[in-house]
Every structure is written in structure tokens, then in C-alpha cells.
């Protein structure tokens, strides 16, 4: 067997086997489960890196396919497509999921669901790796759904918390909403094109073999799925709620890999999508709107994970903008894909740092962390700052290079509004990122009035968020009855961050610093050639300028000694409320669900079922009973009466018959 095929198969099968073994046999035994899961994630890691080095510089994609399901029109192949795009993503996924498994040893240690946690992580690893190297769209859809499933399981990991199980359900249903569009797109392609092979689709679209209407329709339908998975407006609402899951999960699924699957798909079938300018324009508009929206919400959040979640949404939107702009301007997919790569590193880092703080302080509120002395945790504090700088796009962090590229692509468009909006988004990003960093770095005195204000945070679903966080944080430090404490408690400074948690931080910080300088080799690998980027000085200056302006704004509001600790947005209360309420999109969906799905369809269909359909049947039954009862007056139970009736009728019939003769 081809060693590469074997490697691909192992990447998919090993974690699946680990999932099965843990779920069936060892879920009650944490150490054994951990061992199985680690083995099943380390081998794919090695395979991924080996393949990257062995295949560095391949020109032609390697494709392996087998029949998975052959019906008549529907033919689903199972196969692997190994090309630079999938190789890099494979490495990213394998690496980050391995790091997160290491990190979770510390973060999740002592949790009663430890075995289940690792089983779910393995399931995720399996489905994500399978997704990345899928050769056909339908196979990709299968793994896509499985990724959604593992996301559901992991978000609702602490299922006893109402908000967690609710968030899991929301994530699954909302992404499913998008996936239905995706599925319809696939159905259209199957019926009208006949094949879902990725390479074939890209080639056909590029060479005008498909009717434009089909490309546009199916591209937009597939984008529904992308929007669901990558949290684009208006179905981004699940991602912030998904932060109810354990923080390593947020880092792995909901920032670095799974949500990036949407953008990855966009890259994967980039030539196909780019063949429709209409679709590209719509995607660009949606992505831009998403970016602005999520950045503004990030400005007012007080939960550190919420801030990073909205930042994830905005960065994903930024990638989508880069890709769609490239599609419009006949550019390459490199800008968006490069940002995906760098983002994976620094966003995972941000979340893992947040996790380290949360683990230590037992709260998600970064004001509380600041007050409790968050900056004394040296390693997370340094790494989080590095990651924040990368997020803002400050040289020499990785984010600088990739953001520049995207802005450059946007600037290529004729309409300059997009690049201006992109710059505005970058400004907001810098502002909210450094709001967190400055608050953490420069706590105020204990009697500062701002503490009171940020101690309790607004929560949309009425469930004390801080309380939940305590639930999995410090079981003994705060009075509560949650069963899933981490089994370690106490705030002593002697207790730092365990090495299993700081090691991944350092590795990721390393990537964040190094990745940016790998731009040229990566581009050569991906595209076969590296084009010189004529980066205009104005754009470069304005990009760095807005980033610095954002940081400066944050310094004015939150950093300096005399800062008011009030966001500048406080000046416009109506707008602030609008942002805190998340642009009322959650309210809209809630209202939609309650009014239409539950209120109209469900309620009236049920009513119809009980009254009309069932009622009709019951009416028939009861009228039979009634008719029988009415007729039963004949049944007087006087036997002789019956007999009389009988003989008279019989005899009458007999006489009648005889008369004829």
C-alpha cells in the first residue's frame, strides 16, 4: 500500500478507534483514556509533519479514491486529496489538536468526565482530519457534519449547566441551518453536474464547462454552510455561546480549526467559487458586515472568552473578505489562506492563555482576573500579549504579514469602500484586543469605582455566567453545588500554571513569532510560484497606523494612570446598549423561533393533529358507537320478541317467494 495512503487512513482511523475504545470500554478510567487518546493523536501528528516534509514542493495533487456508496446517479467516493492546501491544514489541525490534548491534561485534570472529554476530542480529531483531506464534497460534508457533532458534544460537555447544553443545541441547530443550504447545493451539483469531486469541480468551473447559474446558485448555497460553520452573519450567533464549553475546546474547535473549516472549504473550492462574481460579491458584503458587527460587540464584552470569540468571528470574516476579494479581482487564495494559518496559531494561543487565567482564577471576567492579580502569571501574560500584538497586526508577529496581504487584496478592488471598511475593522480589533490586555496589565487600586461596575456582567440568558465559570473552576473557593469541580482549588501564588499548560503556550507563541517570515516559502509551496507583492506604502502605513491608533485609543481609555476605565463608546449609550445586546440578532432568532417554529407551525400542526386528523377519526369512531347505541333499542333482550320478529320475517319472505309460483 502506498505509504501516503496508509498515513491518510491512519489519520482518520486511529482517532476513530480511540473514540470507540474510550466510549465503550475505558470511559470510567481517566488515565487509560488519556493514554489511548494521546497515542491516537500523536501518530497523526507525526504523519502530518512527515508528509509535509516529504511532499514539500509537490506540483500535482495526489488523489486516492475508492467507492463508498454507488447507487445509480448518486456515487459517493471515499478518497483523499493531498495537495499543498490540504497538507498545510492537515499539519495545522494535527498540531493544534495535539497541543490541546496536552494542555487539557492540566486544564481538565480531575474532571469526572475526563474520559468522555478525550473521546470527544478524538472524535473531533478524526472528523477534522478527514474533512481536511477529503477528495469529494460529499465526503467532506460527512466529516463536516461529524465535526459539528463533536462540537455539539464538546460545547455541551458540562451538560448539567443549562447554558452549556443550550449552547450546544444552539450550535448544532444553527450550523445545521447553514448545512441544509450546503446540502441543497450538493444536491444541485449532483443532479446537474453529476460529480462532487473537488478537483473536477474546480477544473470544470475554471474552464466554463458549467452553466453560470448553476455555479452561482450552488456557490451561494454552499456558502450557507460556510457561513454556518465559520460563524458569518446572520448565523454567527452560535459561536459566542459556544464558549460555554471547556476553554481548550474553544481554542481548538471554536477558534483555530473547526470554525476555520468554513474558510478552508472556501479555499478548497476557490476556483469554483471564484467563477461566480455575483456569489463573490455577496460573500464579500456579508463578510464585511460580520467583521464590523463582531468587532463592535467585542468592544463591550467583559468575558474574556466572549471577546476572543467575537474576535474569531471578525477574523474569519476577514479571511472570507480576503478570499472573496481575491475571487473578484482574479487574485489568488494565498492571502486568505495565509491568514487562516497564522490565525490558527495566535487565536489558539489567545484562548489557551485565557484558559490559563480562567483555570487559575475561576472566572471568565477579565476585570476580576485583573483585580486578583492576573499579571503575576508571567508565562500566560507574556504570551497573551504576543498573541494580541499578532491579532492587531504589529510587526514582526505573524498577523502583521497576513493582514497586510488581505488588505492589499482588498485594495485591488475598484471600489475602495471595502479596504476602508477593512481598515476600520482593523482599528476596532486593535482597540478591543488591547482593552483586555491593558485591563489585565494595569489593575487599579482596590477601591476604584470601576470594579463595582464590571463585577457582575450582563448575561443574555439570565444564568449567572460567573457562577458557571466557578462551577468548573474552584469548587471549594466559592459556595456552589456543581458536581464538576476540577478537584484542585486555592488561589495561592505558589501554585503557578502547570507545565503541561504552559508548554503549548510557548510552542504556539513560537509559531506566532516565526510563521510570518515563512510567507514566501509557503506561497511558493501553495501556488507553485511567489509573486512579488507590490505593497503600496500608503496602505502599509495606514494599516500599521490604524492598528497603532486602536492600541492608542485603548491606552487612553484603559491603560494610562488617569484613564477613566470607560470605553469611548460609553459616550453614546444607545449605541452601547445596541452592542451589548449583540445588535439584537439573538433576540431576532429567539423571536423567529418562538413565533414561527414553535408558535405557528408547531402549535397549529399539533392542534390540527389532535383536533382535525385525530378528531376526525375519533368522530367516525364515536358516531359508530352512537349509531350502535341508537340501534340497540331493538335489542330489548326479550328473547321472544326477537324470535317473533325472526319468524315473522322468515315466514313473510317465504310467503313472498311462494306467491310468485
Amino acid at each position: 500500500m502506498d505509504p501516503i495512503l496508509l498515513g491518510c487512513l491512519l489519520c482518520v482511523i486511529l482517532p476513530l478507534v480511540a473514540f470507540g475504545l474510550i466510549m465503550i470500554f475505558t470511559w470510567r478510567r481517566p488515565n487509560l483514556s488519556l493514554a489511548i487518546s494521546l497515542v491516537a493523536s500523536t501518530i497523526p501528528l507525526i504523519i502530518a509533519w512527515t508528509m509535509l516534509f516529504k511532499l514539500w514542493g509537490i506540483k500535482e495533487p495526489l488523489i486516492f479514491t475508492f467507492n463508498w456508496l454507488v447507487s445509480d446517479l448518486v456515487k459517493v467516493p471515499f478518497g483523499f486529496l493531498i495537495d499543498p492546501v490540504s497538507l498545510i491544514m492537515l499539519v495545522i489541525v494535527a498540531t493544534i489538536s495535539w497541543l490541546i490534548q496536552i494542555y487539557s491534561i492540566g486544564y481538565m485534570g480531575g474532571d469526572p468526565g475526563f474520559g468522555r472529554y478525550y473521546a470527544d476530542l478524538s472524535l473531533f480529531a478524526m472528523s477534522m482530519l478527514g474533512l481536511v483531506i477529503s477528495s469529494g464534497l460529499l465526503q467532506l460534508y460527512v466529516f463536516w457534519e461529524l465535526v459539528g457533532l463533536s462540537s455539539y458534544l464538546l460545547i455541551g460537555f458540562w451538560y448539567e449547566k443549562f447554558s452549556a447544553s443550550e449552547a450546544g443545541k444552539k450550535a448544532f441547530v444553527v450550523t445545521r441551518f447553514g448545512d441544509v443550504g450546503f446540502f441543497m447545493g450538493l444536491v444541485f451539483l449532483t443532479i446537474f453536474f453529476g460529480s462532487l469531486d473537488i478537483a473536477g469541480l474546480n477544473a470544470a468551473a475554471a474552464s466554463d464547462k458549467m452553466p453560470p447559474w448553476l455555479i452561482t446558485t450552488s456557490a451561494l448555497l454552499i456558502f450557507c454552510g460556510i457561513a454556518g460553520k465559520s460563524a458569518q452573519f446572520p448565523i454567527h450567533v452560535w459561536l459566542p455561546d459556544a464558549m460555554e464549553g471547556p476553554t481548550p475546546v474553544s481554542a481548538l474547535l471554536h477558534s483555530a480549526t473547526m470554525v476555520a473549516a468554513g474558510v478552508y472549504l472556501l479555499t478548497r473550492i476557490f476556483p469554483f467559487m471564484a467563477a461566480s462574481a455575483t456569489a463573490m460579491l455577496i460573500i464579500l458584503a456579508i463578510a464585511t458586515l460580520t467583521m464590523i458587527l463582531s468587532s463592535t460587540i467585542g468592544m463591550v464584552a467583559t468575558d474574556i472568552k466572549q471577546v476572543w470569540a467575537y474576535s474569531t468571528v471578525s477574523q474569519l470574516a476577514f479571511m472570507a473578505m480576503g478570499l472573496s476579494a481575491a475571487g473578484l479581482a482574479h487574485g489568488t487564495l494565498f492571502a486568505g489562506y495565509f491568514h487562516l494559518t497564522t490565525h490558527a496559531a495566535f487565536k489558539a494561543l489567545l484562548f489557551l492563555c485565557a484558559g490559563a487565567f480562567i483555570h487559575h482564577f475561576g472566572t471568565n471576567n477579565f476585570f476580576v482576573m485583573s483585580k486578583e492579580g492576573g499579571r503575576k502569571l508571567t508565562i500566560p501574560m507574556v504570551t497573551v500579549t504576543i498573541a494580541a500584538l499578532a491579532l492587531c497586526g504589529i510587526f514582526p508577529m505573524a498577523g502583521f504579514f497576513s493582514k497586510e496581504l488581505i488588505l492589499g487584496t482588498l485594495a485591488h478592488l475598484d471600489n475602495k469602500i471595502w479596504v476602508l471598511l477593512g481598515l476600520f475593522g482593523a482599528f476596532l480589533t486593535s482597540y478591543y484586543t488591547f482593552r483586555v490586555i491593558f485591563v489585565m496589565l494595569f489593575p487599579r487600586a482596590d477601591d476604584h469605582p470601576a470594579w463595582e461596575q464590571y463585577w457582575e456582567e450582563p448575561e443574555p440568558h439570565g444564568h449567572g455566567h460567573g457562577d458557571d465559570a466557578h462551577g468548573h473552576g474552584h469548587g471549594d473557593a466559592h459556595a456552589h453545588d456543581d458536581a464538576h469541580g476540577h478537584g484542585h482549588g486555592g488561589h495561592g501564588d505558589s501554585h503557578g500554571v502547570p507545565w503541561v499548560m504552559s508548554f503549548p503556550l510557548l510552542v504556539l507563541a513560537g509559531f506566532t513569532l516565526v510563521l510570518g517570515f515563512l510567507q514566501t516559502p509557503l506561497e511558493t509551496f501553495l501556488l507553485g510560484k511567489s509573486e512579488p507583492h507590490e505593497m503600496s506604502f500608503v496602505l502599509l502605513a495606514s494599516a500599521v497606523g490604524v492598528a497603532l491608533a486602536g492600541i492608542g485609543m485603548a491606552w487612553l481609555d484603559w491603560g494610562r494612570k488617569t484613564a477613566s476605565w470607560q470605553g469611548f463608546i460609553k459616550q453614546i449609550p444607545a449605541l452601547e446598549t445596541f452592542f451589548i445586546q449583540k445588535w439584537y440578532i439573538d433576540h431576532f432568532w429567539r423571536w423567529f423561533l418562538d413565533t414561527f417554529i414553535y408558535g405557528v407551525f408547531s402549535k397549529w400542526f399539533t392542534y390540527n393533529d389532535r383536533r382535525v386528523v385525530d378528531g376526525g377519526v375519533d368522530a367516525v369512531a364515536f358516531s359508530c358507537i352512537g349509531g350502535g347505541r341508537w340501534l340497540s333499542f331493538i335489542q330489548t333482550a326479550f328473547l321472544q320478541f326477537n324470535l317473533l320478529f325472526m319468524v315473522v320475517v322468515l315466514a313473510a319472505v317465504g310467503i313472498y317467494l311462494l306467491m310468485g309460483r
Partner: protein, 177 residues
């Protein structure tokens, strides 16, 4: 005169006897259904049965006539007497007759009667072309055990089952001692 002489001739005697037997039968039947006292009913039945036995004699079957008396009069009527004694006491007041019911019964029975009369009238009765004349009891016994043995067996089985059934029903249901 002619009538008188005919009456004392053998056919005449036979005819008179026949009329007497018929009268006895019908009288007995009338008593059996109309008397208010249940014992009188049984006695009427006995009378009617004896009458029918007489008719059987006229029909050349002394054996069946004898059986009629033995089984009906000797067994069935006695069983009815027992039933009467085991059930309702005789001294209880009888419910009054309902003329409505009597009328209904007469109409019902009358319709059937009319139908059967019509049937009898309208049918032409043709004897079988070849008729055996062997009326001896021996032959009948022979037939009963050869050609009609199935009927014989069925009768035995029926009687057995009836006996068992009667015992079970009269015992007073399951569980009664």
C-alpha cells in the same frame, strides 16, 4: 245408514280411531301450551306425545311409536318434572297474561302456519319410483348398524356430551361444591 255401516267396517273403525288420536294429540298440545299450571302443561305434553305415538302406529312404525313413548314420556317428561320441582315454587302468584304478547304470538305463529300451509298446498308430492316394502324392525336395526351407523354414533356422542354439559351447567358453575 251407509255411514254407520261404514263406521263399523274396519276402515271406518280405523278412521274413527285415527280422528280420536288426532284429537288427543291436538288437545294435549293445547293443554301443554295454554294451561296456567305448569304441571298441567307437562301432562298435556304427555297426552300429545302419546297421540303422536299413535300417529306413528298409523304410519306403520310400531318400533318408533314405542320409542316415542319410552323416551319422551318416560324420560323427557320425567326430567321436566324434576326441573319444575327444582326451580320455581308452584305457590308463587303467576304474572298476568299480556294480551299484546298473545296477539303477537298468534300473528307470528299464524304467519308461519300460513306459509307452511301454502307450501304444503303448492307442492306436488311425488313418491319415489321404487319403494321397498320391508318395514320390519330387524331391517331397521340392520340399517342402523350398517348404513346409518354414523348417525348412531353421533347420537351416542351427543347424548354423552349432553349429559356432561347438563351436569356441568346444573352444578352451579366453577368453584361451587
Amino acid at each position: 245408514m251407509n255411514l254407520l255401516s261404514w263406521l263399523i267396517s274396519p276402515p271406518g273403525v280405523a278412521t274413527v280411531a285415527f280422528i280420536l288420536v288426532v284429537v288427543v294429540t291436538i288437545l294435549g298440545a293445547l293443554i301443554a301450551v295454554s294451561a296456567r299450571n305448569i304441571f298441567h302443561n307437562v301432562l298435556g305434553l304427555v297426552l300429545a306425545l302419546i297421540g303422536v305415538a299413535g300417529l306413528f302406529l298409523f304410519l306403520n312404525s310400531p318400533f318408533v311409536a314405542m320409542m316415542q313413548i319410552l323416551i319422551y314420556v318416560g324420560a323427557v317428561c320425567i326430567a321436566i318434572c324434576f326441573a319444575i320441582m327444582l326451580s320455581e315454587p308452584m305457590y308463587l302468584p303467576k304474572p298476568p297474561r299480556s294480551s299484546f304478547k298473545t296477539l303477537g304470538a298468534v300473528i307470528g305463529a299464524g304467519t308461519v302456519f300460513a306459509f307452511l300451509v301454502l307450501l304444503t298446498k303448492k307442492t306436488t308430492w311425488t313418491p319415489a319410483p321404487e319403494r321397498s316394502t320391508d318395514w320390519s324392525v330387524t331391517t331397521m336395526g340392520h340399517y342402523l348398524l350398517t348404513e346409518y351407523v354414523l348417525i348412531f354414533e353421533v347420537i351416542s356422542l351427543l347424548l354423552l356430551v349432553a349429559m356432561l354439559g347438563a351436569i356441568v351447567i346444573a352444578r352451579g358453575g366453577r368453584g361451587a361444591s
